[in-house]
């Protein structure tokens, strides 16, 4: 049974769509017909059609022979044969149609399955590719991360080395610059103090000028080094209890000489309400006040400088008032920038960058304080305010 089915199917396979060229199909247009599921042409299984027609012709011939040339029984036999053949042919047709349908349905299903399998395979291939790409990307990323972390490590080492170099530079710079200045200061003071013998007053006065110039040089170097440290973040506060009055008194003693050179007074007016001691870095507080006083002395030609201290909202407020050249609004706004000189500076041909005030501002800010200046204008003097939290 299966063999028969198979051979029938094979025959059907041979006939599909070749039928479009079959002359019988085209000429006879033999109904009832079926449409080819693939090319939509009317067809009848061509081979079967040929068999059917050939057998029908033979049967017709046989029947005709029997009917016309045979006896009475032959007529009956031929009619019954003819009828059974036609019936057989009809049912045979139906069954082949069913076979054809089943075959095509199976083939369609098979093709659909193949299509699905193909699609699935394609999808699996694509996804495998994607996974592979993703994996390769991850490996690549890991390598990149490893490289970046190695680069970072190296950069970190270089920064540490740079930091070390900066520290070394600062130490060498401060040592090299300060050594000759120390020698000049030392020997000058010894000569002025007559440790090497008497010195005429007129000579002494000249030597004092040299001494003061040297002091300014020392101060300039200090300011440069301070700013260099501030900018490279290598400066720290060393807070302790500080007596502002004591610092101011000491500074007045130190700076009196340069004030007297210009016949200026330098005095400290004590207010009863001021705090006796505050927590601050004493060397930096000295720098701040000393820079302001120094600045005031330079920009004042007559009169003098008055320093007062008072309490303001539990903060220490230091006021340094001078009777000097004063400042315009523009000069006031540029005052604490790292390089600025007022027009008075150019006029008086005073050498020096605005480093002292810039350093003072930075130190005040390190103490979380405020520094500002006021002036009523040209030749009307100035007042500098330093506010330090207690």
């Amino acid at each position: 049974m299966e063999k028969k089915q198979k051979s029938k199917e094979e025959k059907i396979k041979k006939t599909e769509c070749i039928n479009k060229n079959c002359w019988l199909v085209k000429t006879l247009n033999y109904p009832p017909y079926k449409r080819c599921q693939y090319c939509d042409l009317k067809f009848r299984n061509c081979l079967f059609l040929h068999y059917q027609i050939i057998s029908l012709v033979l049967i017709a011939v046989l029947f005709s022979f029997c009917f016309f040339f045979g006896g009475g029984n032959f007529k009956l036999i031929s009619i019954s044969i003819f009828t059974s053949v036609v019936a057989y042919g009809y049912f045979f047709n139906k069954s082949t149609d069913k076979i054809i349908e089943a075959y095509f349905a199976q083939r369609k299903a098979k093709e659909a399955l193949e299509e699905l399998t193909k699609n699935l395979e394609k999808k699996v291939e694509e996804q495998t590719k994607e996974i592979k790409n993703a994996y390769e990307k991850e490996v690549e990323n890991k390598e990149k991360i490893t490289k970046i972390s190695e680069d970072l490590k190296q950069a970190n080492e270089e920064l540490t080395q740079l930091d070390k170099t900066k520290s070394e530079f600062l130490s060498i710079a401060s040592h090299q610059l300060r050594t000759p200045l120390t020698a000049i200061k030392g020997y000058l003071s010894m000569v002025i103090e007559e440790k090497y013998g008497n010195v005429e007053n007129s000579v002494k006065e000249k030597l004092k000028s040299v001494f003061l110039s040297n002091e300014r040089m020392i101060k300039l170097v200090n300011d440069l080094l301070n700013i260099s440290r501030i900018e490279t973040g290598k400066i720290e506060l060393e807070p302790e209890e500080v007596d502002i009055k004591e610092i101011i008194s000491e500074l007045i003693e130190d700076l009196n000489l340069s004030a007297k050179e210009k016949n200026l007074y330098l005095r400290y007016e004590d207010s009863q309400k001021s705090l006796k001691k505050i927590v601050a870095d004493p060397s930096k507080i000295r720098e701040i006040i000393s820079n302001i006083i120094d600045n005031a002395i330079h920009y004042t030609e007559k009169g003098g400088i008055t320093i007062t201290t008072e309490l303001k909202n539990s903060n220490m407020l230091i006021k340094i008032k001078d009777t000097g050249k004063g400042m315009s609004k523009e000069e006031l706004s540029n005052l604490f920038k790292s390089f600025s000189r007022g027009t008075a500076g150019i006029q008086f041909n005073i050498a020096g960058a605005g480093l002292g005030l810039y350093a003072a501002k930075k130190f005040v800010e390190m103490h979380k304080g405020k520094i500002w200046a006021e002036s009523e204008g040209k030749d009307r003097g100035s007042i500098f305010y330093i506010e330090i939290p207690a």
């Binding site: 040592h175 020698a183 030392g186 010894m190």
Partner: protein, 120 residues
Amino acid sequence: MKKILLIEDEKVLSDLYEDAMKKEGFDVFAVPDPEEGLAIAKKEKPDLIVLDILLPKENGIDLLKKIRKDSEISSTAVVAFSNYDDPKTKKMAKKLDAKDYLIKTNYTPQEIIEKIKSYL
């Protein structure tokens, strides 16, 4: 007469301070080399060592550590003395029991001598 050991590598400054101290009546040993300074400290047992920080072969702080470790001279008064103004170095010096850390350019020799006298 009080003895002062001065360890200072810059000749001009060494001469200056040696001169100033001698005029003040101190017995001064001025050496530029830290190892030599250590040897003299052990031999002469000075009343005060004035120690420069930026020395050529050895940092002044390291020398101070050696002084403190050596039982013969560990209790000698030391004043650190430098133009290197570094807070960390200052802290180290104070930790190693230095009486003071003076910045050379901030003081005249006379002012330094006044300070030294207060530590003797």
